[in-house]
Amino acid sequence: MSNPSYPPGDSGPYDTHHEEPDPGPPGPPDLSDPKAGGILAPLLVGCLVAVLLGVYGNLHEPTGFSINLAGFTSGAYAKAWLATAAVLLGVVQIASAWVMYGNSPTASASWLPGLHRWSGRIAVLLTVPVVIHCLFALGFQVDSTRVLVHSLLGCVFYGAFVAKMLSLTRRGLPGWMLPVLGGTLFTALIGLWLTSSVWLFGSKGLHF
């Protein structure tokens, strides 16, 4: 995190922050600081979402089936390809954020924040049918390390997503917060993808 300040001219999801001065090095949130609520509230809501997803996945009796999408050989392959598309968009997310934060030798283009916003939106929307199938048909499972890790990461992913969306609406957050949440999202997404799509392609073959 060598450059925690926001890039000038960024009109992206970070646009609510430009007038903020460099918030300085990150430290533990000080509860007497009014900004602390801004940090803590989205994180707490995110944690709550993650836990609730896990509890629902655990309590709901898995049905073993769910509605399927046309054009794929099975529900598992529909999910695997949706997740793969989401991962590609996730890479766009990381790349566009990297440029927007001024890490690229070339200047940030005016369309980059829009690209960042819309690639993120589409990526998350693509994951929704996948997670509904996971939760409804399969549930939170602990049968193997792969499945346990996948279940946990799924909860973390949506918790981090909610925390990030809520954080975007607040002013005066420390500069590290969005990159940390975004990084968590991307890391969880890659982990989810490796423990599902890549595993499926590896064990059942790469096809639609």
Binding site: P13, D15, T16, H60, E61, P62, T63, G64, F65, S66, I67, S74, G75, A76, Y77, R117, G120, R121, V124, L125, V128, P129, V131, I132, F136, A137, L138, D143, S144, F161, V162, K164, M165, L166, L168, T169, L200, S203, K204, G205
Partner: protein, 226 residues
Amino acid sequence: MGRRGPLITLLVVVVLAGILLAVNLARSPSNQAGSGTAGQAGSPAGQTGSLAAPPAAEVAPSAAAPAPAVPPAPGSTPSQFPGQAKYTGYTDGNHAAIAVTVRGGKVSAYLCDGKAVEGWYQGSATGGTVEAKGRGTNALSGTLSGTKLSGTVSAGGKSWTYSAAPAAAPAGLYRSKATTGTTGWIKDSSGKVTGLRNAGGRVEPAPPLDPSTAQSVEGGDQVVGQ
């Protein structure tokens, strides 16, 4: 857009998830009879009569008591099969693996202990029960209770009780027919594979399951006799 953009994104995600969940709930087996969206071909026959079937989640606790080959107690409403489903499980005592696939009221099933005993079954699913026959006197019957399928299965003159749970791909039943024999594999929900090859009556160990050549068996596929 401004500050509300992310909240709108959040809202859209929640709404989409809610819609998908509602569609799923409307089409879940126990609600299917009363749902207008269950128009897909392959709804098992006999579903329309039971609007009173309770949601699967409420039935589930009673599913723990297996009642093999015994009709459901008077007064209890049997669960209904969804249009398409597969179940994997084991015979009691873990003697053999079993896979039962249901599609459009038709059943294809396989029993395999991975050593010497195997059998293919074909039949029908009516309401919440399956009846299927195999080679000779081999037979399979089962009753759905909640989401669990349990019943009896026989092969080679012996009979076992079994219970099986809903499974989703890649778990399921696989089959490969070649001049070297017919091979069946059952992949359970934890990924464990049990298989055997039958070469003209001689049973031998199955080669590793190769998903690119093996056929995924769904209910209604021809698996008994040729």
